[in-house]
Amino acid sequence: MTENYPALLVVVPLLSAFAIYGCSWLHRKSCLPLALLGLAIPFFISIRLLKTVFINGHVSYHLGGWAPPWGIAYEIDPLNALVLLAVSTVAFINLIATSGQIERIFPDRKGAFYALYLLFIVGLLGIVVTGDLFNLYVLLEIASITGYSLIGMGNPDRAPLASLNYVFMGTIGACFYLLGVGYIYIMTGSLNMVDVKGLLPPLYHTSAIIVAFIFCLVGIMIKMGFFPLHFWLPNAYTYAPSPAASLIAPLMTKVMAYVMIRLIISVFSPSFAFSSIQISRGVVWLACIAIIVGAVMALSQRDVRRMLTYIIVSEMGYIVGGAWIGNATAMSGAVLHIINDVLMTFCVFLSLGAIARSTKGYQIENFSGLFKKIPVTMATFVVSGLSIIGIPPTCGFFSKWYLILGAIEGGHYGFIVVLLLSSLINIILFFRIFEEAFFVYPKTNAVHTEGEASIAIAETPFVTLIPLVLTAILLIFTGIYSGSLIALIIKPVVSAGLL
């Protein structure tokens, strides 16, 4: 049982997705428990795997008993065990928190929604765990296609078009990745990551391998919404149904960033990526532009959800920039920022989904007086906002700290300036919402009728509130323990890869 954990991680949610779709015809009430079970098992498996990896080091699982260069291998090291845990935690908590909302929004289509939800997680867990380049493409497409459909289930006026644009961009991205893998296959005759890494060094100077790397990189960057290729992202995430938005927005882009780091560290080598081909400085500058453009575009939005999607664009700039500075400190900062960003984007989207119950829309004006009305929900929104800004006890601060240290080490002073500037812009972004929610009271007829007493406390139901508070605590908790997270898990992997 224990030795089959890596396979069960993907197989259990896959089978439960089919079971749920069957249940949506036979016995509708059992859809939700099945979905919860299908996500709880990967959650516990990923905890166990993290523990195993931590004690024994690297775990390698051969699907069907075929040895690696021929069969597909699932490789788990501390880095992806950590990402696995983040993905499965977010998926599990999000399902609990938004189950009420899902039942309300999709009363007749909830079977399909849950099935897509689980298939999306299958794709993401598979991407993280796989050690095979082509398998990664297939799982990437599983995650993307289910993501398109989940987004398409949103607001009927805008979501289908936004999702269709995402389909076009996403498919171009996946095709570029596939093309890159094709070139790697032509040159090495292998698709297994470990095997490819061993075969590549004599071929580093060939143009085919350089082109392959660039194709893979561009494909992944389209999927992660990196700056010049981000145009699909704001619309797709803004018009997605809110239970899907709080799932897809934190996970998809960050898992893609993980794939990029995986490609750099364990398929190509850092020495190839950072010194053989002279693109690292260019990518870091592009990341700087991404951060600034994301922050400025966020500043120009009145719609809070749209503002948050531009913040994601800017956060992707942090991660890509940190990874491409090319030293161990900045790379650890980038990996830590992947984890932190998953948590804080999740927290902010989840609390926004909960807030939307008591507001008419997502405009900043709709937030007036919300602290009085839903104090706890707003508190979690504030914690996640502070974390995105990077205020010390929350986790956002620590990853930015490592990114800045790494940038100093690597001599990228432009990146530091941009990072600080965008943090300042984030302060404006969030404090104008806090101001509206805390100091401004709704003007509508409050004056002549009952006055302020009319603002009744209509707190979010507990089933949403408890996961939300838990996530907010997790943000602070991860922040406090980020030192040991770096020292014990991230640094060993990253420096082993970078040396």
Binding site: F134, I145, D157, P160, L161, S163, V167, G182
Partner: protein, 131 residues
């Protein structure tokens, strides 16, 4: 002339897939009708499938089935005589992926048509701006 032979004629399969890819990309970027864009997307994906298929084939290679199987004395097998089946098998999966992407995209196009009664992108965008 030599360039023509070494780079154009000898590697015509690569040029073919690049041309197909560019046709697909052009349709996705320049066409206004969503269905035409979708067809462009499919051409783009097919170009990559053709690329993989052409990579696996060999001059004079036969289908990769070993004739002298069970019950015979083991023969030495020269892989140069057989077409490489792996890229072809990979492309079976990629075809499935492209079909399902196309399916999802068509479903979205139907939803857009039901809402806006048109599939021309500029008309949809003006409707969105008006509302």
């Amino acid at each position: 002339m030599e360039f023509l032979f070494t780079h154009l004629v000898a590697k015509y399969n690569f040029w073919l897939y690049i041309v197909l890819m560019m046709i697909g990309l052009y349709a996705m970027i320049a066409k206004n009708n969503l269905i035409k864009k979708l067809v462009g997307m499919n051409i783009f994906q097919t170009a990559i499938i053709l690329f993989y298929v052409s990579v696996g084939s060999k001059k004079g290679g036969t289908i990769p089935i070993i004739e002298h199987g069970a019950g015979h004395t083991p023969h030495g097998i020269d892989p140069a005589h057989y077409v490489n089946p792996l890229p072809h098998v990979l492309m079976l999966t990629a075809i499935v992926v492209s079909v399902s992407t196309f399916g999802v995209a068509l479903a979205l196009a139907i939803k857009i048509y039901q809402r806006y009664k048109t599939l021309e992108e500029d008309e949809i965008l003006t409707r969105i701006r008006e509302s």
